[in-house]
């Protein structure tokens, strides 16, 4: 294989990985339009990438508090640092159903999220990437544990 062929193959691998990984990936621009929508987001939201692309994040998902999210995201754009949300603070960003619909006990998917800056060549940031993790299991265990602790203390 020549170098350029190898590069193409690697590119395809990366695309496959992005599509298959059990983590949600969304790229947003300055106006919070969706630029990238991976397989996880597609499968859990039921919205295809071609339906999502170019749409405003907040008009597509009314459950996201616009002011709150923008406050977080603006620091990422400005300071070029990461921002985090955890399920204890906000149980979910996107209201997806639980990944174990039959045996699971949670009514929705608990989520942690990270927002990372995507830099331009000149170092400025015009796009951000939202990474969504499914933390339903650990959130439920934590809840159970807290319940048991409370019982022990009474």
């Amino acid at each position: 294989m020549t170098d350029s062929q190898l590069e193409m193959t690697e590119f395809h691998w990366l695309m496959d990985i992005l599509q298959t990984i059990d983590v949600g990936l969304v790229v947003l621009d300055r106006s919070y339009s969706i630029k990238l929508w991976n397989g996880f987001m597609e499968n859990h939201s039921g919205i295809r990438p071609d339906q999502a692309k170019g749409q405003n994040l907040f008009s597509l998902f009314s459950e996201i508090d616009e002011d709150w999210f923008k406050k977080k995201a603006e620091t990422v754009f400005l300071l070029n640092t990461r921002a985090f949300t955890i399920s204890e603070q906000r149980p979910y960003l996107f209201k997806f159903s639980n990944n174990h619909p039959i045996t699971g006990r949670a009514d929705f998917m608990y989520q942690n999220a990270t927002i990372i800056p995507l830099n331009n060549v000149d170092g400025t940031t015009d796009n951000i990437c939202l990474i969504v993790y499914d933390v339903t299991n650990s959130a439920m265990s934590k809840k159970d544990l807290a319940g048991i602790k409370a019982l022990l203390n009474t």
Binding site: I102, R105, N137
Partner: protein
């Protein structure tokens, strides 16, 4: 309230056939992995109510203790879970087949359970997805319980659904005392959606 789901005879046959193809592929893979002949029964397709669910899994295995792994899958409007229930008396036979050491400790047993579950669940889910043209996301497997009576596997208090479509597949392996059940469970909305998908297959 969502519409109560029901299946016509044709739809039931169609799901049976789709599962048949998918489990054939799964059995083929298992046969290659273990170099044994896997016996395939006809899959059983049923709509079950939430209060029948415990009874259904109880009727699958009359063993005093079982181990179970479940894995969620979701894609294009179809969501569900694959539940693999493993008769505990099968462990020694399957450890022989997989060439594990004779005396298994708990971790090794778990390892083995995951290996088998992975092959059966993975192949079956992907097989069904391929036929319906759906690319499923699969979540991490969860251990529902190891060496427990079957009635303890599910926490009924927290069940949130009313009805589910269950496809039961009972795998046995020739000349070995190995018996496990794969239960594919689909949510109500998924069944409505899948009924639309298979209506194209049933047209002529």
């Amino acid at each position: 309230m969502s519409k109560l789901i029901a299946l016509t005879e044709d739809e039931r046959d169609c799901y049976q056939e789709i599962t048949n193809v998918a489990m054939g592929q799964a059995a083929d893979q298992l046969a290659r992995l273990l170099d044994v002949y896997v016996v395939l029964p006809i899959p059983n397709v049923n709509i079950i109510e939430r209060n029948e669910f415990k009874m259904t899994i109880k009727s699958l295995e009359d063993a005093p203790s079982v181990s179970a792994v479940c894995q969620g899958f979701i894609g294009a409007g179809v969501a569900g879970e694959a539940l693999l229930i493993f008769n505990d008396s099968s462990f020694s036979d399957i450890s022989q087949l997989l060439k594990y050491s004779q005396e298994l400790n708990t971790e090794e047993e778990l390892e083995m359970l995951m290996d088998v579950a992975n092959v059966l669940n993975g192949a079956c889910i992907q097989g069904i997805g391929k036929q319906l043209d759906i690319n499923f996301s699969q979540s991490h497997p969860i251990i529902l319980g190891q060496h427990r009576p079957i009635s303890e596997l599910l926490d009924e208090k927290h069940v949130t659904w009313q009805r589910t479509m269950a496809i039961e597949i009972n795998y046995t392996i020739e000349d070995h005392n190995i018996n496990c059940d794969l239960l594919l469970l689909f949510t109500e909305e998924s069944v409505l959606h899948m009924n639309r998908l298979i209506s194209f297959l049933l047209e002529d």
